[in-house]
């Protein structure tokens, strides 16, 4: 917990200063989570605003301060899910969609080591975002929380309000769908599969 239980209780009772301190404590973590969930840096702050706005108006429904973090994660997940459903548009001009010539030109322009590293990281981000775009918003959020945020099954249980077995099934299915998309997006793998099929 990043804040004391007592601070949460005060915020629940309508103390604006306490609420402000909670936001300041959780803002960075929540914005980071949103960035990984939605993959669009330009909209992260807007979704973050929505999360804290929902928190302000639903804090009185919080049963005990002990469940505050899963509660906040749940609000974050819901806001990210709403955003992803509304903005299901495809990436426009992104590195992953550029032609090989463009990538080579960008690579050549990046002369320093830092620039090349930055380019590599951008490439990874774009590829993962493209991969996650190919699955549903539910799968995307669940996998990001598990694989990228590193949340445990126990934590996911508290967020989703479902038992461990149901979560494992959902995770398995989501992984299978992403793996399928990965196989389709990875040309080398696709070629290998074709060779295997030809042999078969």
């Amino acid at each position: 917990m990043l804040v004391e239980f007592e601070l949460i209780s005060r915020a629940k009772d309508g103390d604006a200063a306490a609420f402000n301190r909670i936001i300041l404590a959780y803002r960075k973590r929540i914005l980071g989570t949103i960035a990984r969930l939605i993959g669009r840096p330009e909209d992260v702050e807007d979704v973050g605003q929505e999360v804290f706005l929902r928190l302000y108006y639903s804090l009185d429904q919080l049963r005990t301060p002990e469940v505050f973090e899963p509660w906040l994660y749940r609000l974050t997940v819901n806001a990210a899910y709403d955003y992803l459903r509304k903005a299901r548009r495809r990436y426009e001009s992104r590195m992953a969609d550029l032609s090989e010539e463009h990538v080579q030109m960008a690579d050549a322009a990046a002369s320093t080591k830092e620039q090349k590293e930055g380019l590599r990281k951008t490439g990874i981000r774009e590829f993962v975002h493209q991969l996650l775009e190919s699955v549903s918003a539910e799968d995307r959020i669940l996998l990001t929380l598990k694989e990228v945020e590193g949340l445990s099954l126990k934590q996911l249980e508290q967020i989703y309000h479902v038992n461990e077995n149901a979560l494992k099934v959902r995770l398995f299915r989501a992984r299978q769908r992403v793996l399928k998309a990965y196989g389709a997006a990875n040309p080398q793998e696709a070629t290998a599969l074709k060779v295997e099929e030809a042999k078969g």
Binding site: E45, Q49, Y57, V128, V148
Partner: protein
């Protein structure tokens, strides 16, 4: 879907985690948030005020309609000239008993 792919994907998640930069909120984050909270509070109050106003108006209108209706009815109905007992006996005249097939009991017959 090979194990190779699964392994690659696991590595990709880790690389992705590392590649994500820290997100810092802009200086306008808090003022914008409080502005949004206050705006929503105002809109909630406005909606509540509108509903309350509408409810009071409808109640007043209904009261007025019932008052007028009852006043009009009083004027149209002539005042009662007779007493309550008179009105009751007028309503149930004695010859109604004939319709009730009143039969004397066996005791009454034997007394005769």
């Amino acid at each position: 879907m090979s194990f190779q792919n699964e392994r690659e994907l696991e590595g990709l998640w880790a690389s992705y985690r590392e590649s994500m930069p820290d997100v810092e909120a802009s200086p306008e984050f808090m003022p914008k948030l409080w502005h949004a909270i206050e705006a929503r509070q105002r809109s909630r109050i406005t909606i509540w005020t509108k509903w309350t106003g509408a409810f009071v108006s409808v109640s007043l209108a209904l009261c007025l309609v019932f008052t007028i209706a009852s006043a009009v009815e009083d004027r149209l109905t002539p005042p009662h000239a007779s007493s309550y007992i008179d009105a009751l006996s007028e309503d149930t005249p004695s010859d109604t008993l004939a319709y009730a097939h009143f039969q004397p009991t066996a005791d009454e017959e034997s007394h005769k």
